[in-house]
Symmetry: D3
Subunit: 192 residues, 6 copies
Amino acid sequence: MPSPIAPRFPVPALDQLPDDIRQRILAVQEKSGFVPNVFLTLAYRPDEFRAFFAYHDALMEKDGGLTKAEREMIVVATSAANQCHYCVIAHGAILRIRAKNPQIADQIAVNYRKADITARQRAMLDFAMKVSRAAETVSAQDIDELSRHGFSDDEIWDITAIAAFFALSNRLANVTAMRPNDEFYLMGRLPK
Amino acid sequence: MPSPIAPRFPVPALDQLPDDIRQRILAVQEKSGFVPNVFLTLAYRPDEFRAFFAYHDALMEKDGGLTKAEREMIVVATSAANQCHYCVIAHGAILRIRAKNPQIADQIAVNYRKADITARQRAMLDFAMKVSRAAETVSAQDIDELSRHGFSDDEIWDITAIAAFFALSNRLANVTAMRPNDEFYLMGRLPK
Amino acid sequence: MPSPIAPRFPVPALDQLPDDIRQRILAVQEKSGFVPNVFLTLAYRPDEFRAFFAYHDALMEKDGGLTKAEREMIVVATSAANQCHYCVIAHGAILRIRAKNPQIADQIAVNYRKADITARQRAMLDFAMKVSRAAETVSAQDIDELSRHGFSDDEIWDITAIAAFFALSNRLANVTAMRPNDEFYLMGRLPK
Amino acid sequence: MPSPIAPRFPVPALDQLPDDIRQRILAVQEKSGFVPNVFLTLAYRPDEFRAFFAYHDALMEKDGGLTKAEREMIVVATSAANQCHYCVIAHGAILRIRAKNPQIADQIAVNYRKADITARQRAMLDFAMKVSRAAETVSAQDIDELSRHGFSDDEIWDITAIAAFFALSNRLANVTAMRPNDEFYLMGRLPK
Amino acid sequence: MPSPIAPRFPVPALDQLPDDIRQRILAVQEKSGFVPNVFLTLAYRPDEFRAFFAYHDALMEKDGGLTKAEREMIVVATSAANQCHYCVIAHGAILRIRAKNPQIADQIAVNYRKADITARQRAMLDFAMKVSRAAETVSAQDIDELSRHGFSDDEIWDITAIAAFFALSNRLANVTAMRPNDEFYLMGRLPK
Amino acid sequence: MPSPIAPRFPVPALDQLPDDIRQRILAVQEKSGFVPNVFLTLAYRPDEFRAFFAYHDALMEKDGGLTKAEREMIVVATSAANQCHYCVIAHGAILRIRAKNPQIADQIAVNYRKADITARQRAMLDFAMKVSRAAETVSAQDIDELSRHGFSDDEIWDITAIAAFFALSNRLANVTAMRPNDEFYLMGRLPK
């Protein structure tokens, strides 16, 4: 018996979706070879779907500043703290690919303090975790500490916004009980 | 000395903003008589601004299902738990106006368990708080409990998505140290 | 239907109270124009009433050292952390009046780290919060830190004792479900 | 080198105290054979001293309802959770004497769920611990649960007020670093 | 530069170890093709090494009752809660092999409540997590709940002892900063 | 009615035990005058019994480095945090005897920060508590801090391993509801 994508809410059929959403989903399928379940689950609400992916792309597909791998490190570290099944498995795969490192995602998911990362990346994740778990205590000193590690204002905003966006994303995935696609588990683990 | 809007990141000048964003800001100013600081703070990043407010409006301006006052209750309860200065003050004002109740926002912000709300609204806030604080433990039983109170799938999604969206919003506001406008403090407190 | 003052325990009638307690209540009514519910709720136990208000007055009506507004800041910050409906609303009103500042109580209740207070007051509230939430970890270093901010032994005792007294008060109010009087919500919010 | 009574604040000399306070201290010394350090530490502030002990006696020396041993059980359980050196050692001694049980104080201090107490006493301590640690979540159901165990309104008030009063007391003792007198350690441990 | 096995304490050379320990290590190497780092790290203390592995084998290599895969599920769930890098990666590998399921370890490590396990296994992990995180609150009711799921006394002891043993193991691995061998990351992920 | 030793699991009769285990128990009885309940409770599982006591003795009976009293301090501090009835009472007795100090165990159990110990012992217990409660956050800085207090690598390992071993032991005792023998309560409290 195949497991449902997101067992707690209805998942719309592709041909019932608005054109732009169906096109986006087909484009992803074309590129990846499968449709990540987050697209089908969130399609239940077209307006929210559009806003969600516009926000996601603005933060995760951006050039310059943090590398794409570093952006995914933030996702994996904070999603693990939030125990988000979908996000850790799916973004763990993307992190392995973007960092070209088959171990980094598991290391960060279990305990980012023990991961093979630079001191600068460690400072980035310390800050991202504080944003994710106790943003009410973030102080000017925390931001100064990032500056000392060479992060620009723009990069500090990115760290903040990525941790904040996945605070949203993790909660949606946890409540809908969204499942990661089987494909994600092995992606990026094998040498090419 | 006037306090800065959001002391930790630059706030762009209105005439340097993209047209659509400037128009949106001017429209809000026209309607409210002032520009809520969240618009100016987030305008630092136009693409994220657009996604943020599209998401916000999809959840908070929606007709049917939860009332607009109930949507604001969720914002105030979860933002208080996250100690978000901007969100509690600004959305507290909106809640007072939408509920036509000058006390409800303070009651919910301090301890929603003691607020003058219905048993159904209490169940709604219990669930929203679990989404906000411990979404990883939300179970099918929690959702069944909402169904027993008469909430539809669509309404349960709304509660979830509003709590999740303000998990994002609270973190942005806390890290940027965004200040609520002075106007919010008194709005909805006086009889018309 | 008027809400009960404190729905979980009987509230005695004024004419059944011992003379000294009735006189104190009438004096408060004369001065304030209404009887704050804490007086009626605690009158259930005359001996405890007398001790409670004697303690309260010794800490809150004292001259010299901390200003009266600063004493109320401690009450509002710690009572918000304890989610005490009565104390945040009632003492928030008193704080607004004593500080002649209509915003300060809401700021401190939501997140005192973001409030418009001095560095010295911030140190005072950091310490008060530690007394309130984790007194078992208060160290000589914490007390030295207050001394560096210019607080005297007497003032440090006051901060401690106020935070400790409202640890008591908050618990009584939360268990009895004591309601703040309607009058408190708006007090001190309007310019005279 | 003898350890100071309360190393963080000055302890007044007996002959500098107001008459009523000195008399009370001498009476305690006469009765117990020594002066418990709480009397000397709090004498730093005569008005607070009077209110503190008036409150204490109203709750702990009361006849009827909860037994005196049960009142001390509440003190020991909540003071242990608050890691209050003075209160656990001193009231542990009083509990042993009042319960005529040399083991009960240690059992309750370490883990009251494993102590040799009745089911009714267990319900009493469960409630007292909730008052002490999370009073903001105490609900009508919690109070009903006590009623089912046969506790009257008066007894429920007592449990609440004792847990609340020692929330105050524990914080004062922890911040002042008040030491228990040597005499307390062994009191009530030996058969007469 | 190869990463050290356990960077915080010296790792003894194989030829300096007592015979029985060197034999055990060589036997593991023969069987697995490599020496798991836990053997080398703990060999720093021969007597503790012997006790550790005797305990481990008594719990994990036992026949009957819980399956070997179920025993590993307990290890992975509790080690993830304790953020133990070595234990999650190494025992995740063993779990995949014993359960013949390439996804189960990642699912349990991220959020065991969302894993593809039976209701009986869910009850087992709920109990194991309580033993691991809050054993002081385990009650007779918790044990009865396991009995209702068909667990025998012997199996309940096993669940308890495995969760308890890895409470020890996780702490040793976290403090020594023990690294999992590279081999573990991919074991059991590929179809044979 | 005598209380059971460990009410949740069967306790084997002495004459049904393997020879080596019975001999060990008889030797303890000979030496102490009674059989500590941990021996009878764990004898339910002979292999685990052997490993448990071999581990225990390797850590607690070791000569050199930490004194035996210091080893027991670690047990009492961490067992109190874990609310382990058996371990606090039984090892509190051993600590009193080994330290020749009738007050030290109660002081450390209630709040080790207030105990009459040296600065070096305080650093030892701070570290042990971090190992016990949050080992995932132990950093190289924590270990350096111990080195600054003069602890050798061997001693740091001992602190770690004792805190870790009693993380195991506390969980077994809490789940089995193991009772301390009556003898422990008074041991070491009276002058010889």
